[in-house]
Symmetry: C2
């Protein structure tokens, strides 16, 4: 087996141990005579997987019985629609911070449904960044406020969450459980699973029960949060395999120790940023105070050098370093499961590449 | 390894060969250094999986370039909402046949959106059945008409599709690619993947391009069919693992020969129905002319005997024979991947059980 270093922004690297265990159990899950993919979602074998995944995630986030964790298909993009469909009534306003590509997508879906106030706008700023504290203009009495914790494409991360005065909803697709965070400051937070949580195929949505109950009942059943909160995400057949791998990944996080992973994440990012800052060759994309620890983005002097960098890195076993097609440049996504050795390998390669081409 | 005979209605048994290949490639897919679960959905390794899955399915269904095959998260239940949201305009009517639990769910979601004509209603009939040809009342100029090919719970199957005079949309969740069928008579057909196609986590939706283009543009992006047809189901991150296993399952169908599988399906069902018909002990749930070849449903003289039957069968390695909680009785779901030996085992058990308890 020759595993590569996979810097993909998502779907992304998963813990090797999780993959190896899943491989062993794929045809016959723990002696029950069938694959997790073949199990009735109403049976006791699957039920144990489902319950444990939820319990481990709640424990890791430090959220209690007033919260529900839901598995909702369609990724974060479906959440962009469900949030306003549920919570943005006719005579209401929702506040959205426009901080980059993803929060802009969320905002645009909300504008299709109702009245939106853009609370801050730095979507197109270069260097990329997040809005500063004083920059937000929140609406008193807003139905809710929406922010994106980490913009995967721009490589900028909110280091502190604003006090918005309304229920705060947060897209954490690319930095959930990657650093110390008080999850109880939110009314709802969600993440497309395929970055820091597991494989693609669902969003993991944590929502306060009392917030879910406020949702519209005039919308389709599958788009109401209460359908998931009231039936523990078992109203219809859930994405069982994605939930299984998610649960295994959460157990791995618990076993590794989340504080330990948070520390490693900061160290991994710092190693790359240190090379960027110590060089006249590489140029970080994001303002220093908003630099993401999950998606490290930078430029080289020319697009030709960027293409060469990405190509040579791939040949050396470092894959998917190309920046998002909308912005170019280089991006190293280094989620929880990304190993330190892969960062060391990249850092050595960066130094070598600068020496040769700088 | 001790695989059981898994009669689950869905998620359901998958071809052993598909599972074994997936197991082998789980950590390192064909030497590319990562799992299918970790691959960027914009990369060439995943792209080959995605394209091949679509092409094989289209070939098996015999549908051409005027069709798109879409992978849409949320299963058939999300389709129940998307269909009327896309195609049922304010001043229009949609025709729905109410043939059982699932078509009734589809119908109810449509009623939330617009005007529905119930074209036929045998939802609660016992014995269970499908509407007869002359029973349907179609609306001239309807926006579309909706039928369910096979009611998984009642065990009744439409053997011939009606000429409705409007674009025909069909839920084939539990009998797609299980028998000879002219797929070109539809405007759209769809199936929750977790029965005859692969693991849970998506619906496979085949839709004529010109029908998709008629869909509303006023609804959220993720709920418009054009979002999937125009971007080949790659607008956002698709459920890559489910698509991969779906593609492998389609290749297995092709390798086995679909006509061969169709013949085996009929033989498997006949073996069980023959025991039922030759017995005064077992009683088929569905009228003979509508009997499903995928979900064989029957009753025993008492509920106590049913519980005993299910329990003893499970102890003998035949799992998930319990009828759906809404109807009780016994149900044997015998999809494409269900082996003939499992049917033989069940048939022997049925005869033995009758001898002891009849």
């Amino acid at each position: 087996m020759s595993r590569v270093y996979n810097f993909s922004a998502g779907p992304a690297v998963l813990p090797l141990e999780v993959l190896q265990n899943a491989q062993q159990d794929l045809v016959d899950y723990k002696g029950c005579g069938m694959s997790v993919m073949e199990m009735s979602h109403r049976g006791k074998d699957y039920d144990a997987i489902h319950q444990e995944a939820i319990a481990t995630f709640k424990e890791l986030c430090g959220i209690g019985d007033d919260w529900c964790v839901c598995f909702i298909q369609g990724g974060a993009s479906m959440q962009f629609a469900m949030i306003p469909m549920n919570f943005l009534g006719k005579d209401q306003v929702a506040d959205y911070a426009n901080q980059g590509t993803w929060s802009n997508k969320a905002l645009k879906e909300a504008q299709k449904i109702g009245n939106v106030n853009v609370a801050a706008n730095c979507q197109k700023d270069i260097p990329t960044r997040m809005p500063a504290d004083g920059e937000f203009k929140w609406t008193p009495g807003a139905a809710y406020s929406h922010v994106c914790a980490n913009e995967t494409i721009s490589g900028a991360e909110l280091k502190k969450f604003p006090d918005t005065g309304s229920p705060l909803v947060c897209d954490m697709s690319s930095d959930i459980l990657s650093c110390e965070r008080d999850y109880n400051q939110f009314a709802m937070f969600y993440a497309g699973a395929q970055k820091n949580l597991g494989p693609s195929g669902m969003a993991v949505v944590a929502i306060r029960k009392e917030f879910a109950e406020k949702g519209s009942q005039a919308i389709p059943t599958m788009l109401q949060y209460r359908t998931y909160t009231e039936e523990n995400s078992l109203f219809n057949t859930p994405p069982c395999w994605s939930i299984y791998i998610f649960g295994e990944t959460m157990k791995w996080v618990k076993k590794m120790g989340k504080e330990n992973l948070f520390k490693l994440n900061a160290e991994k990012a710092k190693k790359i940023y240190d090379v960027i800052d110590g060089s006249g060759f590489y140029r970080g994309t994001a303002l220093k105070e908003y630099r993401s620890n999950m998606n490290v983005t930078w430029r080289l002097p020319t697009e030709e050098l960027e293409a060469q960098f990405i190509k040579e890195a791939a040949a050396a076993g470092m894959k998917s370093l190309k920046g998002h097609r909308s912005v170019g440049g280089v991006r190293a996504s280094i989620y929880n499961a990304f190993p330190m050795e892969g960062v060391d390998c990249l850092v050595d390669f960066m130094k070598e590449f600068e020496k040769k081409n700088g």
